[in-house]
């Protein structure tokens, strides 16, 4: 096995700005976003695409960026949690997470927030079962799930106004 391989340049839209990055073919998107762009709301935890801490939106769809090669982001639109309140105003999903107390340690929170955003973009008024279905790939070891479900419902209300 060898780690070094020919670097390549990719161009993609990151949080509304067009950016270029020199990457290695094996590099994951989570590593690129953290190490090159200092976006620490993206977090690697299980490294297997099972916990959702590294969730980002690629062309509007939540992906596990620990398994998603940076090379795949070439030409795509990538959104991280940092973009949601870029203008200083919290997204309704973020407001709802605060009001519902939907986190404890906060390490998994950006992943839940982004997954909730995709859910509400696709289903503005989700049922309990739809909420559980969409969020079943995000893990919270502190067990804030009841508050997270409440937050999703609250966010749906806020967005409907």
């Amino acid at each position: 096995m060898t780690v070094s391989a020919a670097p390549m340049t990719i161009r993609f839209t990151l949080n509304s700005a067009v950016v270029d990055a020199l990457i290695t073919p094996h590099q994951s998107l989570v590593e690129l976003l953290r190490e090159r762009f200092d976006l620490f709301g993206v977090r690697e935890s299980c490294g297997q695409g099972l916990c959702g801490c590294c969730t980002v939106l690629v062309d509007g769809h939540a992906v596990s960026s620990c398994l998603y090669l940076a090379a795949f982001a070439d030409g795509a639109e990538v959104i991280t949690v940092e973009h949601l309140a870029a203008d200083g105003r919290l997204d309704p999903v973020q407001e709802a997470f605060i009001e519902a107390g939907a986190f404890q340690c906060g390490f998994c929170t950006p992943g839940f927030v982004l997954m909730t955003k995709q859910l509400l973009d696709e289903i503005p008024d989700p049922s309990d079962d739809e909420i559980r279905h969409y969020l079943s790939g995000n893990l919270c070891r502190c067990g804030a799930y009841p508050e997270i479900i409440a937050a999703v419902k609250l966010a749906a209300q806020k967005r409907a106004v």
Binding site: T80, Q104, F107, P110
Partner: protein, 764 residues
């Protein structure tokens, strides 16, 4: 929960959101996980592949030859910077890197340094280690009589008087034995009308905080800063200073928010290795474990608990003998304290005149076990509350009535002899019964889906004696900063401490700044563990704030302001200094009263500063065709004294209950010949959103901890105690199957059903 202010400033009892909420939802909250320093190297670890073996040779040349590798390090290199590289909170038994032999699979043997973490990892995999395999022992009961010894000799830390008798003990796997004797158990058993005896077991599990252990050490010019995801900054400083022979003031330990802890991050974990590597490299070194590596670092003890009770026909328990064997794995970590400090509560929340407890911490060749949210309690409650139900059923008594009859009530002596005070055990039990609707008929299901209900209550003593120190500073503009070493790992301590300071000073909690732990800045704190912070640090912050308030009053007097004048604090500073200048500092130090237990009998008049009571009631549905258990209702009730922040407290309780559904139903570190088969989330499942019970509630009973700050006490572990036995008791109620071992998997239930039907499946 009601949100009624009970104290004058209205800050205690306020359900305000966590003060760092905005940072957490925007992804900007600080974690050590995110930290980089200029010139930093990454350290990656090469780990043992055998459970017990002599190291014949470590071949590092191929690894060192890889381009970009700064250095490959083994135990011999560690010895050039640390003369005696063994650490641990109770025993100095754990080498920074294995020396001579390895004692568990996954033990660190060598490390590689490189600027690129991928190169460091590749090189770590290129290290070849030749082992001479040794016989190994994995089971805590087998280890008692095994000829295999994990350690040649016990090495208790010299600082503890109560461990001195263990120094130099050889040829044993018993790291610590704790004994308690009250009354005359032998006589009571001899005269008993009926004796019930059971053996319960629990599995080894892992905390899996989503931010895995991480430490970044920066040693230079004879001093060092360690940035760590630790729950114990003060302890890490003391222990690193001891290893180096340096004064404590040359070691600085800083933390940030922790991405979960649950006990995994107490005491030294990766800090000692990071420190040694930084000394060797002359550069900052970061060690960030993977999720997989965490499983080899620390875990919850597997256990065996033999429990025996003498019972009168009327249902009164007259004697109990508890033998508890905690499987501590290869290194003691805090296990000896688990065996001792939780061991003494092994007889449960019952009023039993004659009690014997023998509790043991056992070395085996498994990954080490330590503290995990409950400090040994969930294992104990699993056993004694299962035993309680089995006795009730054996006597034909209602399990609730049987508990009522034997409950340890206020003013009665605990097994230690300590008189129970501020322990709302009866209230917790009654509230649980009311909430689940005990005694009322309910839908019991039909056909292949059967329902049942169960109840269980646990009692824990807060660990003592421990100290917390805090300072509170009032700046010249009147703003308030709290300096305390309590680590916020999600439990909400930052918010709670701000509320306590604000209550004392008459401020709004939102206006109080709480500084992240930094041993150069924040005073000593024993650690963020054992649900101790609200009580101990809460007192220290209260005392510090009260002293600051007194000094402000003195400043007012000095500057000619009459008492009770509503002059802004900033005006006092202006009067004194002629401008916005100066600081008022209050300090507070808290050490609760405590009497150590007698070595032979475990008796003490003052076993603990406070008791924690946590109960669960469950209603479940069992699929008799598959053995699958679905939890329909899970109710948690606790005595937490007076809540500082009712909403965060409730979240703590439900979160603990959800976490322990995992331990109850599926989490299990599975071994074959000492090899862990499932150290990852693909094969070690933790509860997800789909595992939530249909109904999940948590509440506290109306109670006050008279000795607590504003009536409060700890609650972080309380929701964990009784989840597993409540569900096992419900299973028995539903289908008449009693499981004596965790987890309650569909296979275990199905095997139980087949056994109950007289048609058992063949064992594997």
């Amino acid at each position: 929960m009601s949100d009624v202010p009970r104290f004058s400033s209205g800050q205690i009892g306020r359900s305000l959101p966590r003060l760092e909420s905005r940072a957490k939802v925007t992804g900007t909250a600080e974690y050590i996980h995110n930290l980089r320093l200029p010139g930093m190297l990454y350290g990656k670890i090469c780990r043992s592949t055998v459970p017990h073996g002599r190291i014949r040779c470590i071949e590092t040349r191929a690894a060192a030859a890889i381009g970009g590798v700064h250095r490959v390090v083994t135990a011999a290199d560690i010895r050039t910077v640390i003369a005696e590289p063994y650490y641990g909170p109770a025993f100095h038994d754990q080498p920074i890197l294995a020396e001579g032999k390895v004692r568990h699979v996954g033990e660190p043997v060598a490390a590689v340094l490189a600027a690129d973490p991928h190169i460091a990892e590749q090189a770590a995999q290129a290290i070849e280690i030749d082992y001479e395999p040794m016989p190994a022992v994995f089971d805590e009961v087998e280890a008692l009589s095994s000829a295999v010894f994990v350690h040649d000799q016990l090495k208790p830390a010299g600082t503890f008087a109560d461990l001195k008798h263990l120094v130099g003990r050889r040829d044993t796997n018993i790291a610590l034995d704790f004994h308690l004797r009250r009354g005359d158990p032998a006589k009571a058993f001899a005269n008993a009308e009926q004796v019930f005896e059971h053996t319960f077991r629990t599995q080894q599990t892992m905390h899996t905080p989503l931010e895995p252990h991480v430490a970044l050490a920066d040693a230079r010019d004879g001093s060092a800063t360690i940035y760590s995801s630790t729950q114990n900054p003060s302890f890490v400083r003391t222990e690193i200073a001891r290893l180096l022979g340096w004064p404590e003031n040359r070691v600085r330990v800083k933390t940030a928010f922790l991405g979960g802890g649950f006990g995994a991050k107490v005491y030294v974990k990766v800090e000692a290795l990071a420190m040694a590597l930084s000394l060797l490299a002359g550069r900052p070194v970061k060690i960030a474990l993977t999720m997989e590596e965490q499983f080899f670092t620390i875990s919850r003890h597997a256990s065996t608990f033999r429990i025996k009770s003498a019972v009168e026909k009327d249902g009164r328990i007259t004697a109990r003998h508890c033998e508890v064997f905690y499987n501590g794995g290869a290194y003691a970590d805090i296990g000896p304290r688990v065996a001792q400090k939780s061991g003494f509560t092994a007889a449960g929340p019952y009023d039993i005149e004659n009690t014997a407890i023998d509790s043991f911490e056992i070395y085996t060749n498994r990954p080490p076990a330590g503290a995990f949210r409950g400090f040994g309690m969930p294992q104990l409650v699993w056993a004694y509350e299962g035993h309680t139900d089995l006795i009730a059923r054996g006597l034909g008594l209602d399990p609730l009535e049987f508990r009522r009859k034997n409950l340890l009530r206020e003013g009665r002596p605990h097994a230690t002899g300590t008189i129970m005070r501020d322990a709302a055990t009866a209230a917790v039990l009654e509230r649980l019964a009311q909430r689940i609707g005990w005694g009322q008929s309910f839908e019991r299901g039909r056909g292949t889906l059967r329902r049942g209900r169960g109840i269980a209550v646990g009692l824990k003593a807060a660990i003592s004696p421990t100290t917390s120190v805090a300072t509170v500073a009032i700046a010249a503009d009147g703003s308030c900063t709290v300096y305390c070493g309590t680590v916020d790992m999600g439990q909400g301590s930052t918010t709670a401490m701000a509320q306590i300071a604000a209550e004392t000073l008459g401020l709004e909690a939102e206006a109080v700044q709480v500084v992240a732990p930094d041993t150069d800045v924040t005073p000593y704190d024993m650690g963020t563990l054992g649900s101790r912070s609200t009580f101990h640090m809460g007192h220290a912050v209260r005392l510090a704030a009260a002293e600051a308030k007194t000094k402000l009053a003195a400043l007012a007097a000095e500057t000619g302001v009459p008492p009770d004048t509503n002059l802004p604090v900033a005006e006092l500073f202006r009067r004194k200094y002629g401008m916005q200048a100066g600081t008022v500092v209050g300090s507070g130090s808290y050490l609760p009263s405590y009497a150590p237990p007698d070595h032979a009998t475990g008796q003490t008049p003052n076993a603990t500063p406070f008791w924690m009571i946590g109960g669960s009631a469950a209603e479940i549905e069992v699929d008799t065709e598959t053995g699958l258990v679905r939890v329909l209702r899970l109710i948690t009730v606790a005595d937490a004294g007076t809540p500082v922040n009712p909403r965060i407290l409730e979240t703590q309780l439900t979160g603990a209950a959800i976490q322990h559904l995992g331990m109850t139903l599926f989490e299990n570190m599975e071994f074959t010949d000492g090899q862990l088969r499932n150290p990852n989330f693909a094969e070690y499942k933790i509860p997800g959103i789909r595992d939530l019970p249909e109904q999940l509630t948590a509440e506290i009973v109306d109670a006050v901890q008279e000795s607590g700050p504003y009536g409060a006490k700890g609650v972080g572990e309380t929701g964990t105690f009784a989840v597993a036995p409540a569900i096992a008791n419900a299973l028995d109620d539903a289908v008449g199957v009693r499981l004596m071992e965790l987890p309650i998997t569909p296979e275990a239930v199905y095997r139980g059903l087949r056994r109950a039907a007289g048609d058992p499946l063949p064992e594997e």
